[in-house]
């Protein structure tokens, strides 16, 4: 079932948590709401579920398959909601937790006892916990609890699955396993799903599409590739991975960052404006000499070679910290040492003038 959110605002007192947000989630997609804390992503999720009221206006609406559900009670929306801290019923066993949504139905709509049992067993198998059906939540590990919470949400055959920071409370290893499991599960059952996360890696790995949010607004909507490689603005680029940020100024149609000059094709028409250059750590190269190129002089302060890539920290002019990542092969070919005076130049960078993105990608 598709979800559409139209012109939703939400204020807590004078704080505007959501500022006229509109969003479409096509049927069967797995969408991530990604943003820092306080960006309004959880509020948006809770509003879709019906757990939170929004500022009602004439234009605002929440549509499930084109039908406005904004005035419908939570229980009638048939959404599966997975809470960040699981919210399992602590006095019920795993089995009872999963069966809850079916058992509370009215006599007319409630499945028979056998039917409920069959359904719960199926779900227990799906989450690979069939042997722990009689355990209480307190006897489960975090990852197991989260899977029970998911099974409980799926038991009512929801038309929409909403997950609030589903892996937030788990440790890194468990999180990664569960992430892949969720992706596989979604490929199997194809229920329209929205999950909230502040972890960009999680969003990039799991989601079909990513909605990047900041300060109650949507900054960009796109596939993981789109938001990562064509960020709509400096915030998106900064949030989706580490970046080096350089402040400069537009002079005679070119952006100047110390000795580094970016000359975009067609030139810039905003002389005197401040400009920002964002460069991913792996898009920076380190050279021994300047080789006639406009590189930035810098000094290596730290080298960390334990890990998938070699991480090098440098200090440029004005004590500007610079982070570079390079492959181990490359580092072996051109070994560097702490204290080396080198030049740093970008292979790819993104230029943002006054926060509007310019087609300033440079290769």
């Amino acid at each position: 079932m598709s979800i559409e959110v139209r012109n939703i605002s939400k204020s807590f007192g004078s704080f505007l948590a959501l500022d006229n947000v509109s969003l479409q989630v096509p049927d069967g997609e797995l969408v991530a709401l990604l943003g820092p804390s306080g960006s309004g992503k959880t509020t948006l999720l809770r509003i879709i579920a019906g757990l939170e009221a929004f500022d009602l206006t004439d234009e605002s609406a929440i549509l499930f398959d084109g039908r406005d559900v904004a005035r419908e009670a939570v229980g009638r929306r048939r959404v599966g909601f997975v809470f960040q801290h699981y919210a399992l019923f602590r006095h019920m066993t795993v089995y009872q937790n999963i069966a809850f949504g079916l058992r509370v139905r009215t006599k007319q709509t409630r499945p028979t006892k056998d039917e409920i049992d069959r359904r719960v067993r199926e779900l227990l198998q799906l989450i690979q916990l069939d042997t722990l059906a009689n355990r209480y939540p307190s006897q489960l590990s975090g990852g197991q609890r989260q899977r029970v919470a998911l099974a409980r949400a799926l038991a009512i055959e929801p038309k929409v699955l909403l997950l609030d920071e589903p892996f937030g409370a788990l440790d890194a290893k468990v999180r990664q396993g569960l992430r892949r499991w969720l992706r596989r599960l979604h490929d199997e059952i194809h229920v329209t799903s929205v999950f909230v996360t502040h972890d960009q890696e999680e969003a990039l790995e799991v989601a079909d599409r990513i909605v990047v949010m900041n300060q109650g607004r949507i900054e960009q909507v796109g596939t993981p590739d789109e938001v990562f490689h064509q960020p709509a603005n400096a915030f998106v680029m900064d949030f989706l991975g580490n970046v080096n940020l350089f402040h400069g100024r537009v002079e005679a149609g070119r952006a100047v960052f110390g000795s580094l000059v970016i000359d975009p094709p067609g030139g810039l028409q905003v002389d005197g404006e401040s400009a920002r250059l964002l460069i991913r750590p792996y898009d920076l190269e380190i050279h021994k000499d300047n080789r006639g190129q406009a590189g930035l002089p810098a000094r290596i302060t730290r080298i960390q070679s334990a890990g998938p890539v070699v991480k090098i920290e440098l200090v440029g002019g004005n004590d500007q910290p610079i982070y570079v990542e390079m492959a181990h092969d490359r580092f072996r070919q051109e070994p560097r040492a702490v204290g080396d005076e080198v030049f740093v130049s970008p292979r790819v960078s993104r230029l943002f003038v006054e926060d509007r993105q310019d087609p300033g990608e440079r290769e």
Partner: protein
């Protein structure tokens, strides 16, 4: 998971405290002795005295005290009053703590303060308020008299005074518990399609059952043992408006020591049973809240 990690940390810290900053032996011993002496003087000795006095003229005389019509009437009245006050206070306590813990509304802090009022006010004043309200010279007295409704110096007055004195017990026990549990489980139930009523019976109530029982035990003990407020509104009519504590006083004032202490021993027994029940409930609650997860997740090793 996080809770377990924390409890392990605290345990380790406690061990360090004993090892590093333990007090010298004589300090520990003298503190122990002082508290034991205190307990003996103020709790054990009086308790022993009650039973000794009650049995001074033998078991026969002791049991005979309960054959007395007035004594039986006092016991019956006490049970009746507790039987009315405790259920009403369960309903009130649940409603108040549910409202306070699960919802945000204006005047919430005023309500919390009001719930504490009976603790702050002397029981005698509480009784006096009802005399001023419902007594013959009171605000509602003439109207009540005209309609032949007697509240003061009758059972309804005793019930009212008891309810007033005991109503913080259940609510006070439940409010912090419910606040700590938050509203997520209720929200989960609602999303799953449960009605508000189902959510209350199947999620909220089972989650607080031990806290509720604890509150009920304390509430009951107080309801049966209340003296001051009940004394003011009762009128001390033998066989009619005397509860057990009041009956004890009357017998004592009549120098009927064996009978007085016999009835008193019943109240003391009630206190002992209450303490035992309280300990059991506390033990159950603690066991439930500290249950360790069966399989220790890997993160724990990293945390601790």
């Amino acid at each position: 998971m996080a809770g377990t990690a924390k409890s392990r940390l605290t345990r380790r810290r406690t061990a360090a405290t004993i090892a590093g900053t333990g007090d010298p032996a004589w300090v520990r011993w003298s503190i122990c002795l002082v508290s034991l002496a205190f307990l003996g003087l103020f709790l054990a000795v009086p308790l022993a005295a009650v039973f000794t006095e009650a049995l001074r003229k033998g078991v026969g005389a002791y049991l005979e005290s309960f054959q007395n019509r007035d004594a039986l009437a006092a016991i019956r009245l006490t049970l009746l009053v507790a039987g009315i006050a405790v259920p009403l206070n369960i309903v009130f306590g649940l409603a108040a703590s549910w409202a306070i813990a699960k919802f945000e509304f204006r005047g919430k802090s005023v309500l919390i303060t009001l719930i504490d009022l009976p603790f702050a006010v002397s029981p005698v004043i509480s009784g006096l308020i009802y005399v001023l309200l419902f007594g013959l010279q009171g605000w509602l007295g003439p109207w009540l008299a005209a309609h032949h409704i007697q509240i003061i110096f009758a059972v309804p007055g005793i019930v009212l005074a008891t309810i007033f004195v005991t109503f913080p017990f259940v609510a006070r026990e439940l409010i912090p518990l419910m606040q700590e549990q938050g509203t997520e489980e209720e929200e989960a139930a609602l999303v799953l399609g449960a009605s508000g009523w189902q959510t209350f019976w199947r999620v909220t109530l089972p989650n607080v059952k031990w806290g509720l029982l604890y509150g009920v035990i304390l509430c009951n003990a107080r309801a049966m043992g209340e003296f001051g407020a009940v004394s003011v509104v009762s009128g001390h009519l033998r066989g009619q408006t005397n509860t057990m504590p009041l009956h004890v006083e009357i017998l004592y004032n009549e120098y009927n020591f064996v009978a007085a202490f016999a009835v008193a021993s019943l109240l003391a027994l009630l206190a002992l049973v209450t303490l035992v029940l309280k300990a059991i409930v506390e033990w159950r609650t603690q066991r439930e809240s500290t249950e360790l997860p069966a399989s220790t997740p890997t993160s724990l090793q990293e945390v601790t």
